[in-house]
Symmetry: C2
Subunit: 427 residues, 2 copies
Amino acid sequence: MSKTDQTLENTILELAARARDASLILATTDTEAKNCALMELADLIEASTETLQKENAKDLEAGKANGLTKSLLERLTLTPTRIKGMADGVRQVAALPDPVGQELERTVREDKLDIRRIRVPIGVIGIIYESRPNVTIDCAVLCLKSGNASILRGGKEAFYTNTALATLITHILEKNHLPTSAVQLIPTTDRAVLNTLLKLDEMIQCIIPRGGENLIRFVAENSTIPVIKHYKGVCNVYVDKAADHAMAEKIVVDAKCDRPSVCNAAENLLIHKDIAPELLPKMATALVEREVELRVDAEAATILTQNNIPYREVTDADWEEEYLDLILAIKIVPSLHEAINGINTFGSAHSDAIITNDENAARQFLNGIDSATVYWNASTRFTDGFEFGLGAEIGISTDKLHARGPMGLNELCSYKYVIYGNGQTRS
Amino acid sequence: MSKTDQTLENTILELAARARDASLILATTDTEAKNCALMELADLIEASTETLQKENAKDLEAGKANGLTKSLLERLTLTPTRIKGMADGVRQVAALPDPVGQELERTVREDKLDIRRIRVPIGVIGIIYESRPNVTIDCAVLCLKSGNASILRGGKEAFYTNTALATLITHILEKNHLPTSAVQLIPTTDRAVLNTLLKLDEMIQCIIPRGGENLIRFVAENSTIPVIKHYKGVCNVYVDKAADHAMAEKIVVDAKCDRPSVCNAAENLLIHKDIAPELLPKMATALVEREVELRVDAEAATILTQNNIPYREVTDADWEEEYLDLILAIKIVPSLHEAINGINTFGSAHSDAIITNDENAARQFLNGIDSATVYWNASTRFTDGFEFGLGAEIGISTDKLHARGPMGLNELCSYKYVIYGNGQTRS
């Protein structure tokens, strides 16, 4: 190991040790102290609009020089409206109930031993993310409110912006007599830090990667710390033979077209063979009018050809692809059973919907689909922390341990058993 | 890769794929069908006492030839009483409520979108364990009841016994028209299987290692599948200056001596300096009478010397050691604060107790100790699924994600959001 690597490793080790110490203090910090700091942070973010834009300009300049795409530069840009939006987001989190200390369960035994399951913070959470600078504030604030120390490792594209935001947070923590190590931004974008960070399982209790599939897979494969993740959102809508046609069209158009760039947008449409000849032409027309490219199987192709509707032939790889664009793969299925099997095979276990008026078919689908979120007669687009009433979300999990679906403050918590006795022994 | 390795890898891949298929069927299998199979399994285990003992004898013979220690051989032995105990354990699990399908939370939005969080099985659970054959039955049965498919990889010492037990399970699954791949024992004890098994994150959702720290660490470091684990139980009892002396003595003796070989037995005792001169001689005498070896710090040594009580000097390594034996490390601490810091540093975050009549001190301890289970005026020995009212346990987690402390049927479950609409869209 070179001297630079060794220095970097020591920096990360010290940072993680400080985070662990801070987490023990944060775990017993009262709600008012946390909320007060959050409200002051919101004000400071707004008051720092000019500084933040100045630092952000450095990132944008570097980004242009490095040939970032227009859409990436757009995501990276901090406008006064977006800065105000960040501040408002912080105020919303301050207004949410504090999850820490909530009693989840209680058993009082015959011998009066009183066993309570109490919600507590996870401890230290490492968040590894890409470009968008608002993630820095969102994650720091959600972790702080839930009593967790956070270690943030943002992308190099937003380095100056993230550093400026972290400086504001540190200032507020200090001013409020909270440990400044409660939120720490890793002071380098050297990828080598991840190799050190992801092995510190004695100090860091959870890693949340946010970004492209490659980043997430790298983290999952190299971490000895538990990871909560979501690779991609390949969401599916199945239109059953007993569907209301107008409702089906409305939901499919919404699921595909409302915001195609997000993970809860639909990528695949499955239609029962009995209604396809009547339903597909209408639905395909509505989608094509909204500039959706249709990638269809042979049976659907026959129907579309008869109706002069443009399409491309679907490939096997399409079914597992997250387009994040106005593209929809379409399959005609012979039965509900085939639809369920198909979605369980090529879906990403994120959000899937059935459109039907047949309650029995709906039950089979809702029970049989092995996904985080399953819908009956509604659009997949609702999978979102705000829409679910969580107040805010730190991400969406397609894992099955700990948290599944949208993750809010509760999902950033663990629990502990707190047991009150009066001298009970087992012998 | 050699041809044998390739064959082995294919065997494991096929086994995992079958488990995944079985898990989708099990997830929607009704409670009665599961319970009926469990009750029949219990009867069959009892009826097979002779066969089981015959197969067990092969393991015992091989174990003696391979020089297994007397205590390991003892743990491995199946007696008619133990076989009856296994069968009764299965009946107890059959009698527990089915966790699958329970509604955990419900939100009905203003637009009538009805969002329900429903408990569902995790899917496929891999369990990697050592010698004791009852683990085969316990794990298979808890997984089956909670709707999970299980892949069991027992230790080579119990190979014949485990195979005989697995044969009984397969027979019952078949007879009850349940997928026979719902419970699969890996048909080899070749360690190389773990390298394949632990990477199958697309088919297996959770790994639970049970055994020595080395096995657990190997699994945690090599698995890309989420792992729920517990390295060791270094449990601590802190006797505060405001403790009732008689209660303190009773609890410390219970925590250390009731069953020293288990993970919830105390390994370290911390005593506040103000009461040590009076309390320690009495407590030490009670412990020495029960043949406990005391390993003490300098201050405690002074007190014990004055009272002619035998001891050894404690080493730094002792504080983190899980003795699993009649040995207790003793430290005099200057304050509650030092006790909390000490336990958070050298404990294993399993079970820790404070003995005090001072409610304020108790609150600080219960909040400040970062462990799965914290006790006020009770013995650490209660950390156990049965004692907590979970009915049975598959293990104890010292992790913070998903499950913490004793894990029963609920902890073998995930959840999914099931959402009922009537045409809702977001646009």
